[in-house]
Symmetry: C2
């Protein structure tokens, strides 16, 4: 079983990519909606919450943990690996950074929430792997509320995207990291604004690839969903827009149960 | 001393109106940024937090409490009045509702965050005073992030406002309540979209009027700011956009000290 957690519903785009590659694995999702957003909380708060949720998921019997939240990935994933040394823990940043350096591009744009951009989590890891990279980070605070409204396309969304992405277009970036779990739902609009040449990296896809590879090589951590069982989605507080985001991600094809509230 | 609290920086627009009418009163502000937004939290959480903050403000020596948060006003103000029967407690909803019913208008629009709109706090109080009112509530989730970006005017903001306010224009509402503390900063754009005839009610102004009247009639609760003293603004976590919102509200004319983090 794969345990996935996020501060809210954004991690559903990560589950979407895991479903695509590993449709037979059972997922247990935990969204800490009572404490979202994590980006404005302190590091010690995010560490404590991430540890509590990881313990809870392990008690539910998961074999693998996916930290589907950029803030937790930046601040808590090393801490979690120390606390739970026997548990395979995947996070958002490393797989994307490895993918992007493998591509050999030099000018990299990063877009995310103000919290993720300020944390410089992606920048630091990118520069560790390749100090000659040129990195241009831009925070796009309106993108999450746009996704949560379901305004994924259209003139208003395009104008907002144009305004945020203008400096990256001017810098002629080659690759663009979507460093927020909500942003892949805006990929169509972002592609339209940035043009066909820019290589758009969705960290959820990079993570799902690494997870897929890991489970192929370590089948003892793999456990397929039983007939009649559903994927389970828990939240610490009623998620305001679960149905909308869930429909955008899963198109209602995947059987899943929403269980609320918890912890 | 007047103790003002909110879940974040939105309450600064309430402080602005208090400053306008009562420039000599000292303000202590508390923004519970560690737990924002309140709108998605449960009622018991909001009650507990509001009680804790009220106690803390009273320990600092405040004479009057202003609940400058619509969610706390809806869920916790009656509870606070019971817990602290000797303390004058002002909240966002009652003064605005009294102002609007005094105007004798029949078709009332209410705009706010999804949390405030779902709570129906304004609707219920309006209908108690006048059951024949026609009330049209609309939630505008993008307005808060627009304000926090400082995008108060311009085409993007207007187009978003047009989209949210279209149904209210079609209904030919006579009055519009800005039921979120951030929205008064968008009043120019909202006015442009709604036209000159609609009567726009800013609950912060209604509250400041009632507070002004109360202090005139109850001078023992009034305490003027001492020479050399500043207004004080405390937050439970570093507020992401304090400087921007503060500049929009106070235009840097008012001396104030930011003290972070607390509680």
């Amino acid at each position: 079983m794969i345990g996935v957690f996020d501060s809210g519903v954004g991690g559903l785009t990560v589950v979407k990519e895991i479903f695509n590659l590993l449709p037979e694995q059972q997922i247990i999702y935990f969204g800490d909606t009572a404490h979202l957003p994590y980006g404005t909380k302190g590091e010690s708060f995010v560490k404590k919450s991430s540890e509590k949720i990881t313990k809870w998921l392990l008690d539910k019997g998961v074999d693998v943990i996916v930290v589907a939240c950029n803030t937790s990935s930046a601040w808590a994933s090393d801490f979690l690996k120390e606390k739970f040394p026997k548990v395979p823990i995947f996070e958002m940043i490393t797989p994307a950074v490895e993918d992007i350096t493998a591509l050999g591009k030099k000018k990299i744009g990063i877009i995310g929430t103000p919290g993720t951009i300020e944390s410089q989590a992606y920048n630091k890891k990118l520069l560790t792997l390749n100090p000659s990279l040129k990195i241009f980070p831009v925070s796009c605070p309106l993108f999450v509320p746009l996704v949560e409204e379901g305004w994924l396309e259209g003139k208003v969304t395009e104008r907002i995207a144009e305004r945020y992405l203008k400096s990256l277009k001017n810098k002629k970036i080659e690759s663009l990291i979507l460093a927020c779990t909500h942003y892949p739902l805006l990929e169509g609009t972002i592609r339209k604004v940035m043009g066909e040449k820019v290589n758009i990296i969705n960290p959820a896809k990079s993570l799902a690839n690494q997870l897929n590879l890991f489970l192929e090589n370590n089948p003892k951590f793999s456990s397929k969903i039983k007939k009649g069982e559903n994927h389970k989605f828990y939240f610490s507080e009623k998620p305001y827009n679960y149905e909308k985001i869930s429909r955008l991600c899963f198109k209602e094809k995947i059987k899943h149960t929403l269980i609320k509230p918890l912890l």
